[in-house]
C-alpha cells in the first residue's frame, strides 16, 4: 500500500516537471558562484576567534577564556559562579581527557553534586538526573564566529538532555575549532558524514545563546524551554 | 532631441498644469516636444485588476500613437513601468502587436530618468524656496529601480530644503483600482503616509507619479479640513519644482 502511494506521489511530481521517471542523475548545484566562500577569507584565525567573542558580547552570551591546562579549574569556577547545584556532564572523550570525574569527585562544596551521563543506566535514569540538574556541561565540536554559535552533537556518551534540560548550560569549546561561518562548519559536517554515514550523529544542534522568546508583546524573555543561562568556555 | 510626451490620463483630466510644467522643463533642456492628441491611457488600471483582455484596447491605442516616436517620456512612473514591462506579457499571444509593443517599450522613459540618464542633466537651474519631502513611488523606485535620478534633481534645486520622511518608499495606498476596491484599507494606508509627510516638517510633498500624488493630496486636504493637521501641505509633481525659477 505504502509503495503504491509512494509511486503515485512521485509520479505526480515527475509529471509536473514534464517527465515520466525520476532522473538518475542531477548535476550538483554550483555553490562556487555564491559569495559565501570569499567571506572572511582575509581574516587570521585569531581575528576569527575575536569575532566569536565580539558576537557573544553583542547578543549577551557569557564567555570565559582559558587554556588547556586550566580547563577543569575554569569549569569549577563557572559552576560556582552559576550558583552550583546539581551538575550533569558527559562520559565522552573530552571528559576523560580532562579527567572530569576524578576532579569532580574531589569537589567538596555544599549543594554541589555531580552526575556523569551513564548510557548503560538507561533512558529514564539519565533523564531523571538531567531534569533536576541546575547545570549541564558539554563539549561542542565546532564553533561559528559570525553568529557566536557552538555545534553540539549527541551520541551515546553525551545525551541531548545534558545541554537542554538544566537551567544553565556550560559549553567547553577549543578556539581551534572555531570557524568563520556556517560555510566552513557545514563543510566539516559533510566530511564527517561522508567518512561514515552510519556513524553520523542522530542529533546535531547549533546553539547560539540561551533560549528566548518575544511572543508576548514582543518583550524579550530569556529562558523558555531550554536553558536560561549559557556560558561558553573558550579553550586556547 | 525630439520627444513624445506621454501625459498620463490623470494629469490630462485633473492636472493640466503638471503636464505643462513637464513640457516647459523639457523644452528648456532643448527638447522638441510633441504631445500626441490621440493618446489616452496606458491601460495599467485594467491590467492591475486582472482585466488583460479589456486592457488591450488602451494598450493598442497607446502603441499606435507612440510607435514611431524616437523617445517617449512619461510624466508618471507607473505608466512607464506598464509600458516598459507589462505590454509584452499581455500581448504575448499576438506576435504582430508584440513586435510593435517592443518598439514602444524600448523607448519609454520615466520623466526624471530621462532628464538624468538620457539628457545627462542633474541641475535644471530651478529655484524653489521651501521645505520639501519626497514620496518615492513604488513603481519608479522599486519595480523600475529608478532611485537616484529624482534625488539628484532635487539636490540641485536652489533654495530647496529637503526633509526626509519616514518610510518614503512605502506605498501610499493608491494601488490603481485598490483605492476604490478596498477604500477602507486604502484610507488607513494613505493616512499613515500623510502623517509621515506631515511629521517630516515639510510644507511641500513632491513625487513622480501623479496617481500617488492625487491620492496623497486627497488625504492631506481632508486631514487639514478636519483639523487633524495644522498646516496645509502642498502636493507637487517634481516637474513643477523643476519648473520653478
Amino acid at each position: 500500500m505504502d509503495d503504491v502511494k509512494r509511486k503515485a506521489f512521485f509520479s505526480r511530481i515527475s509529471h509536473a516537471l514534464g517527465r515520466k521517471e525520476i532522473p538518475t542523475f542531477v548535476a550538483p548545484y554550483p555553490y562556487e558562484k555564491g559569495p559565501q566562500e570569499a567571506m572572511y577569507s582575509d581574516l587570521s584565525h585569531e581575528q576569527v576567534v575575536d569575532m566569536f567573542k565580539v558576537e557573544c558580547e553583542k547578543v549577551g552570551t557569557k564567555f570565559v577564556t582559558t587554556d588547556e591546562a586550566h580547563v577543569v579549574e575554569t569549569i569549577l569556577k563557572e559552576i560556582e559562579e552559576r550558583g552550583g547545584g546539581k551538575v550533569i556532564y558527559p562520559c565522552c572523550e573530552e571528559a576523560e581527557k580532562f579527567q572530569l570525574k576524578e576532579n569532580f569527585d574531589k569537589v567538596d562544596k555544599e549543594g554541589t553534586t555531580f552526575y556523569q551521563w551513564n548510557p548503560s543506566a538507561g533512558r529514564q535514569a539519565n533523564i531523571d538526573e538531567a531534569k533536576v540538574a541546575e547545570i549541564g556541561i558539554t563539549f561542542p565540536i565546532l564553533g561559528i564566529a559570525e553568529t557566536a554559535t557552538v555545534i553540539q552533537p549527541s551520541f551515546e556518551a553525551s545525551g541531548r538532555s545534558i545541554g537542554l534540560l538544566p537551567l544553565c548550560h556550560i559549553a567547553v569549546i577549543r578556539t581551534s575549532d572555531i570557524v568563520p561561518r556556517m560555510t566552513q562548519s557545514m563543510r566539516a559536517l559533510t566530511k564527517v558524514y561522508k567518512e561514515n554515514p552510519e556513524g553520523f550523529p542522530s542529533n546535531v544542534v547549533h546553539i547560539s545563546g540561551p533560549s528566548n522568546t518575544a511572543d508576548i508583546e514582543l518583550v524579550r524573555v530569556v529562558g523558555v524551554h531550554g536553558p536560561i543561562n549559557v556560558t561558553f568556555i573558550l579553550v586556547d | 532631441m525630439k520627444i513624445h510626451l506621454f501625459s498620463q490620463c490623470l494629469i490630462d483630466m485633473f492636472y493640466p498644469h503638471v503636464g505643462m510644467a513637464g513640457v516647459q522643463v523639457l523644452e528648456r533642456l532643448g527638447c522638441d516636444i510633441t504631445v500626441p492628441k490621440k493618446q489616452v491611457c496606458c491601460g495599467q488600471m485594467f491590467v492591475n485588476s486582472g482585466y488583460n483582455d479589456a486592457a488591450k484596447g488602451a494598450i493598442k491605442n497607446t502603441i499606435e500613437v507612440f510607435e514611431n516616436a524616437e523617445y517617449i517620456v512619461s510624466m508618471s512612473g507607473s505608466c512607464a513601468f506598464a509600458i516598459r514591462d507589462e505590454y509584452r506579457h499581455i500581448l504575448a499571444d499576438e506576435p504582430e502587436w508584440m513586435a510593435r509593443a517592443a518598439k514602444v517599450s524600448e523607448r519609454i522613459y520615466e520623466f526624471t530618468e530621462f532628464i538624468v540618464n538620457v539628457l545627462g542633466v542633474t541641475d535644471v537651474g530651478a529655484t524653489f524656496n521651501d521645505k520639501v519631502t519626497y514620496h518615492k513611488s513604488c513603481h519608479v523606485t522599486r519595480l523600475m529601480g529608478i532611485k537616484e535620478p529624482p534625488m539628484k534633481l532635487l539636490e540641485n534645486i536652489k533654495g530647496l530644503e529637503y526633509l526626509p520622511m519616514n518610510r518614503a518608499e512605502g506605498c501610499c495606498g493608491f494601488g490603481g483600482t485598490f483605492t476604490v476596491k478596498q477604500p477602507e484599507i486604502s484610507a488607513v494606508m494613505t493616512r499613515e503616509k500623510a502623517m509621515n509627510i506631515y511629521n517630516s516638517g515639510a510644507n511641500v510633498v513632491a513625487g513622480g507619479d501623479q496617481a500617488c500624488l492625487m491620492n496623497i493630496e486627497g488625504m492631506l486636504d481632508r486631514l487639514y479640513k478636519d483639523g487633524e493637521i495644522d498646516r496645509r501641505i502642498k502636493v507637487m509633481h517634481i516637474a513643477e519644482l523643476l519648473n520653478s525659477r
Binding site: 516537471l17 555564491g34 511572543d215 | 477604500p183
Partner: protein, 478 residues
Amino acid sequence: MAILYDERPFKKRVEDVLANDFKVKAIQKAQDVFYAKRKALVDQVPEWEDFREEAAELRDHVLSNLDYYLNQFAENATKAGAKVHFAHTAEEANEYVMEVVRAKNAKMVVKGKTMVSEEISLNEALMKEGVEVNETDLAEFILQTADWNPPSHIVVPALHFARGRIREMFHDKLGYEGTEDPEEMTRFVRKRIRDRFLRADIGFTGCNFAVAETGTITIVSNEGNGRMSSSMPKTMICLMGMERLVPDFAGLDIMMELLIRSSVGAKISNYFSMITGPAKPGEADGPEELHIIIIDNGRSNILGGEFNSMLRCIRCGACMNICPVYRHITGHAYGSIYPGPMGAVLTPLLVGYEKAGDLPYASTLCGECWEHCPVKIPLHELLLKHRVNIADKAHLRPAAEEAIFKTVATVFSNSFLFDYGTKLGAIGMKLMSKNGNMADWTKLLPVVGGWMKAKEMGTLKLKKFRDVYAEYEASKRK
C-alpha cells in the same frame, strides 16, 4: 485549524480588524521592530543581494529536480533509520499520524511550532482520537489557551493578545496566580510544558529544511520547543511540506544566512537542530522512532506551473513584516493560516479561488514583499497572475465590476470617446459639488464613494492637458 479558518467575506474580516485598535497597533509595532532589526543586519552584509540571488537559484534548482532530491532524501532518511511516509492529502497525512498514535497507544503529545500541521488540521484529528494535544511554542500555547484562537502572524502568532488578557486567560483556565509580567508568565508556561515534554508519548515537529544527501531534517527555534519535541519523547513525528529540501549541508548554509535575518532580524536562531534518523542504539535519550511524513496537499499542482516560484517560500514572514496592507489589516483579515503577501498567493492555490479569490486583491502590488523576500519570489507578479485568472479567465468577479471595467476600458482606448466622456464627467462633477467641494451624498456613490469618505476628490477639468498644450503650441507659433 484548517488553512482557511474564517470563511466570512474579506470585507467583513477587514472591518472587524480595523475596529480592533490593539491588534493593529501590535502588528504595526512588530513590523517596525522587525524592519529596523532586519535593516541593521542586512546593511552589514554587502553580499546580501548575492545571497538572495543564490538562494532563489538554489530553490529553483531543487524544485526543478524535486523528484530526484525527494527520492534521495527518503532513501537516506530511511537508511538512517527513519520511517518515511508520503501523504498526498491532509487526510492521508492524518491517517499516518493516527496509525502511529494507535500503535504507540499515545494519550498525550507535544508539538513544536509547525505550520504544515495547521494546514492539515492535525490538532482536530488528534483530539477527535482522544489525544491530549499540547502546543509548546509560547505563542501557540497562548492561542491554544484562548480556545484555539487563530494566528495573526506566521512567526509571532499571538501578538494580538495584550499581556493583561494573557494573564486573565492563564488565570481562568490554568490557575495562574502571578502578575502580567511576560517573564513571570513565560516561567509559568515553562514549568507547565516541561512536565508535558517529559511525559509526552509523541513529539511533533515541522521541518525547516530537509537535506537530500544525508536524510537530515532540520528545525529552527528560539524557545527550544523544536529541540525538546525532537529530543524528549520516545516517538517523534516530523511533518514536512514536500518542497522543503536542500541538496546538501552546503545548501543549509545559504538558507540559514537568509532565513533568520529575514524573519526576525537576528543573525541566527538560538537553536538549529539537524536530525538524522532516530537515536542510535545505546543512546539514552532522543526519539527511539522517527516518522517523517512528507506532505503534498496541493503542492504538486503548483509545481512546474505559473506559480512555481511560490514553492521557493521558506516561511520566514519577511513579506508580512514589510507589507503595507498586512500592516493595517493583520493576519486575521486574510482568514488563512498563511497571511500577508505569501498567504495571498498561496492560500488560493491551496483552497481555490471560490473560497479565497478575494485575497489576491489585498495588495497594492507595491513590490516591497518581493524586495524583502530572501528567495526573491515575485509575489506582486504572482498576485497579478491570480487576478488575471480570476477576472479574465474564470470570470469570478462580480458581474457589475466586470461590466464597469469593460465600459471604462472602451472609453479609455479611444481619445474621441475619452474626451467626450470626461467632459461629461467634468460637468457632472460640477453639478455634484458645492463651493468647490463634493456634496456629502457622493460618499454613497458606488466605485468613488469609498474614496470620498476618506479623501478629497480633485476636480475633473473641462480643459484637459492636451487642450491646454494645443493652445500653448498655437500661441508659440504666432
